[in-house]
């Protein structure tokens, strides 16, 4: 197990003695609770509140091999001003892109509140030598990215090399510290059990994550409600025990407003209002935005508008 000399604030104990206190997760009961929360019926002004919040929390994302400067510029403009016909619609939180596209996103968003996030550390698999991963992180930080979304090495995690996973996070954090926010992607769809999700969450937080994030979005199973709830409960436990605030990002498969509202209800009833801010909660998505815009317009006018009235970027 890792014997890292200095642990981030709130984790004064070395990792090993903490392990028995990791706690466990009961899958049946967790899924039941997540399903119960998903039945909350959020209507009218409560819904508008949630949808507006969902936009402000959104990491508008494009992570394709086919991404070009043009595509990223268009997406950035969309993120700054999601609905040109309605000045009340806020900007999204960030634009999330591959490392090579960071400069283009930065150029377009300069002078706005919209941040630029870059995925790094051999996203999405994380299966590259550590030096390559660290170099990539250094590059995106130097390029000026405000946020770094790293992946954990699931191969190391699943073969029990927790210390390696932990050390990598610590080293990435060293590069980011003072320059960029660090989000650690667990890729929960590959972790197999909720116990592993809990363990990986704690490992990431101990390693210095500012945010923990569910998924890369590259798997068929990404952010599910029970997985997100499981991670929120870890964040709650860490906060209760140490006072440290860790953010949460859900990503992958969130395409409809209804899903976004369900995730927000979860946060509201698990961590409370304090986490209902883009500083502490993010939703990574590429196609969610237009559905949210459509729902907001429906709440305002009472009708659904043709999708052609919402820009495709």
């Amino acid at each position: 197990m890792a014997t890292t000399p200095v642990l981030p604030g709130g984790f004064e104990l070395p990792l090993e003695p903490r392990l028995p206190r990791l706690g466990s997760v009961d899958a049946v009961a967790l899924e039941e609770r997540a399903a119960a929360l998903a039945t909350r019926s959020i209507k009218r002004e409560a819904k508008v509140f949630a949808l507006d919040l969902a936009i402000r929390m959104m990491d508008l994302t494009t992570l394709e091999g086919a991404d070009t400067p043009g595509k990223v510029a268009a997406l950035s403009s969309k993120g700054i001003r999601p609905d040109p016909s309605d000045p009340n619609i806020p900007s999204v939180a960030a634009i999330c892109v591959y490392p090579n596209l960071v400069p283009y996103a930065l150029e377009r968003t300069r002078g706005t509140s919209v941040k630029v996030a870059a995925v790094a550390t051999a996203f999405p698999s994380g299966q590259s030598p550590i030096d390559v991963k660290l170099a990539e992180v250094r590059d995106v930080v130097d390029a000026g990215a405000h946020e770094v979304d790293m992946v954990i090495d699931r191969g190391a995690f699943l073969s029990g090399r927790y210390a390696q996973v932990y050390d990598e996070i610590v080293r990435v954090k060293e590069i980011c510290a003072g320059h960029a926010h660090l989000k650690v992607i667990l890729e929960t769809g590959e972790l197999g059990t909720y116990d592993n999700v809990r363990r990986a969450s704690l490992l990431a937080i101990a390693g210095g994550a500012d945010f923990i994030k569910t998924s890369t979005g590259k798997l068929p199973t990404s952010a599910t409600l029970p997985v997100a709830l499981c991670m929120l409960e870890v964040i709650r436990d860490v906060h209760e025990e140490t006072g440290r605030v860790v953010g949460m990002k859900v990503a992958g498969g969130i395409r409809q407003s209804k899903q976004a509202v369900q995730f927000l209800v979860q946060v509201h009833e698990t961590l409370g209002l304090a986490w209902l801010t883009p500083d502490r909660y993010r939703i990574g998505a590429s196609t969610l935005l237009n559905d949210v815009l459509m729902q907001i317009r429906k709440e305002r006018t009472g009708r659904y508008q043709n999708p052609d009235y919402f820009t495709v970027d």
Partner: protein, 498 residues
């Protein structure tokens, strides 16, 4: 910089943090169900006026508003109902091909599913339970019970190998107010599957879903007299229990009334099953998945306002995690939404009756007087109606009334233990023995605990989970006889040698 960007740049970097996210009211439409102004008694396949001429008003406990006038069945009415049941038993039902009986039960099950929204709304209106529970638990489980026993109707000889099962006759069934339609299903489904006919008395305060069920029976074209519903208070129940024409009594309700029934039936040769009170222990070990255990605690005691005979009303926490669990529990309690039962976001609804509210209040006062520490989350209750804030007592001694008596309300008493043996000893130290919960990651401990606990149902890492295939019933003062599963058929058959 474009014009767009300049405008955006002037906006503050961060929107102010929200101060509240109040969920807008999300009420289920009440007009989906039609409530009649007055109801008669359902005897011989039709509604008839009560010979007693007496009626009373049934209310909505969340608004204290009258819903309907229902009949108070007297001696003559009960007699008429029993005769109708006897007649239907002798002239057709008991000799019907079993597969035909099954068809009726399947039909009833399907109709309950089709009309589930109607039943859910009515159940919440008349009983005060949240629509989320009546919609997701009560009605689906009631339908599931009819489906399950429909399947047994033509397979009874497989339920009792080498024996020849025949029906008992007329069953008199008395049900409580906490799960009106579900308890009706628990009683009627196995009785009919085995070829009996029924006179059922719903609880005084919650007769409406049983009366709406009569319309389902009409739609299913069940032969007249196979099921008869007589409404009324305890006097009607007493008439039914002492009627000579009844072969079997099934009662679910308070231990006090159960004892009285048993005294009445002593020496009469009538069969009896009783499902009575409980004071279940929900036992949390230090290796339990804590956040899920807290959900189990909440579900165990605040589900259906604690009006649950198998409620986990005594929390036994291992001392080493006591403080963590209580902190988590209090935090979770603060998110419980108490209010309008018809609102889809309500977690805890109204107390079923004024009488029950008074009983809960008195027991809670006794807890305070005896020295237990009370905690209630901040909670805004509606002005009208019967309400009680979810409550937890810590610092409770085994000898306090709140640790011994069934409160039947949203009130939890917390005790601690040090070892598994002590947990078993404390859990069993009650006159009741209906249910228990065990929370631990260790499989072998679950099995050992289940063996040591004198309780009819032991849940492991879950609570208040029901399935028609699983038998349910108590030890000691929690009653005898089992409902659900193959065991649930037994009270309704006479077994002869094949």
């Amino acid at each position: 910089m474009t014009k767009d960007k300049r405008e955006i740049a002037r906006r503050p970097d961060k929107a102010p943090m929200a101060t509240a996210w109040d969920y807008a009211p999300a009420p289920e439409a009440r007009d989906i169900v039609k409530v009649e102004e007055r109801y008669g008694l359902f005897i011989g396949g039709t509604f008839v006026e009560p010979a007693s001429g007496e009626r009373y008003t049934t209310i909505d406990p969340a608004r204290e508003e009258p819903l309907a006038e229902v009949a108070q069945a007297g001696k003559a009415d009960v007699d008429r109902a029993v005769r109708a049941a006897r007649d239907a038993f002798a002239n057709g039902w008991s000799n019907l091909r079993p597969s035909e009986r099954a068809k009726y039960l399947f039909r009833i099950a399907r109709l309950l599913q089709e009309r589930s929204r109607e039943f859910a709304v009515l159940e919440s209106l008349n009983g005060g339970k949240p629509i989320r529970e009546s919609r997701d638990v009560d009605i689906p489980l009631a339908a599931a019970h009819f489906f399950y026993y429909a399947g047994w109707a033509d397979k009874l000889e497989y339920a009792f190998p080498n024996r020849k099962p025949r029906p008992v006759g007329v069953a008199g069934q008395i049900i409580p107010w906490n799960f009106p339609l579900l308890m009706l299903a628990w009683k009627i489904a196995p009785a009919l599957a085995a070829g009996n006919t029924v006179v059922l008395k719903p609880a005084e305060t919650t007769p409406l879903s049983a009366l709406l069920f009569c319309d389902v029976l009409r739609q299913a074209e069940l032969p007249p007299g196979v099921v008869n519903i007589v409404t009324g208070d305890g006097r009607t129940g007493a008439e039914l229990v002492s009627h000579q024409g009844v072969d079997k009594i099934a009662f679910t309700g308070s231990t006090e009334v159960g004892k009285a029934i048993q005294r009445t039936l002593a020496g009469t040769g009538k069969r009896l099953t009783l499902e009575l009170g409980g004071k279940a222990a929900n036992i949390i070990f230090d290796d339990a998945p804590l956040d899920q255990a807290v959900e189990g605690i909440v579900n165990g005691i605040y589900f259906n306002q604690g009006h649950v005979c198998c409620a986990g009303s005594r929390l036994l926490v291992q001392e080493s995690i006591y403080e963590t669990v209580i902190a988590k529990l209090k935090r979770r309690m603060a998110t419980l939404r108490v209010g309008d039962p018809l609102d889809k976001n309500t977690d805890v609804g109204a107390i079923n009756s004024k009488q029950q509210l008074e009983k809960i209040s008195a027991l809670v006062q006794s807890g305070i007087d005896e020295g237990a520490q009370i905690y209630q989350p901040p909670c805004k209750l509606p002005e009208r109606g019967y309400w009680f804030v979810p409550t937890v007592f810590t610092n409770v001694a085994q000898s306090y009334r709140i640790a011994q008596e069934e409160i039947f309300g949203p009130v939890l008493s917390v005790l601690t233990f040090r070892t598994p043996d002590e947990a078993i000893e404390k859990a069993n130290n009650t006159p009741y023995g209906l249910s228990a919960g065990v929370w631990t990651e260790k499989g072998s401990r679950i099995l050992a605990m289940a063996k040591g606990l004198r309780a009819g149902v032991v849940w492991a890492n879950t609570y208040n989970r029901f399935d028609p295939a699983s038998p349910f019933g108590g030890y000691k003062e929690s009653g005898f006889g089992r409902e659900g599963g193959r065991h649930g058929l037994e009270p309704y058959v006479v077994l002869e040698d094949a």
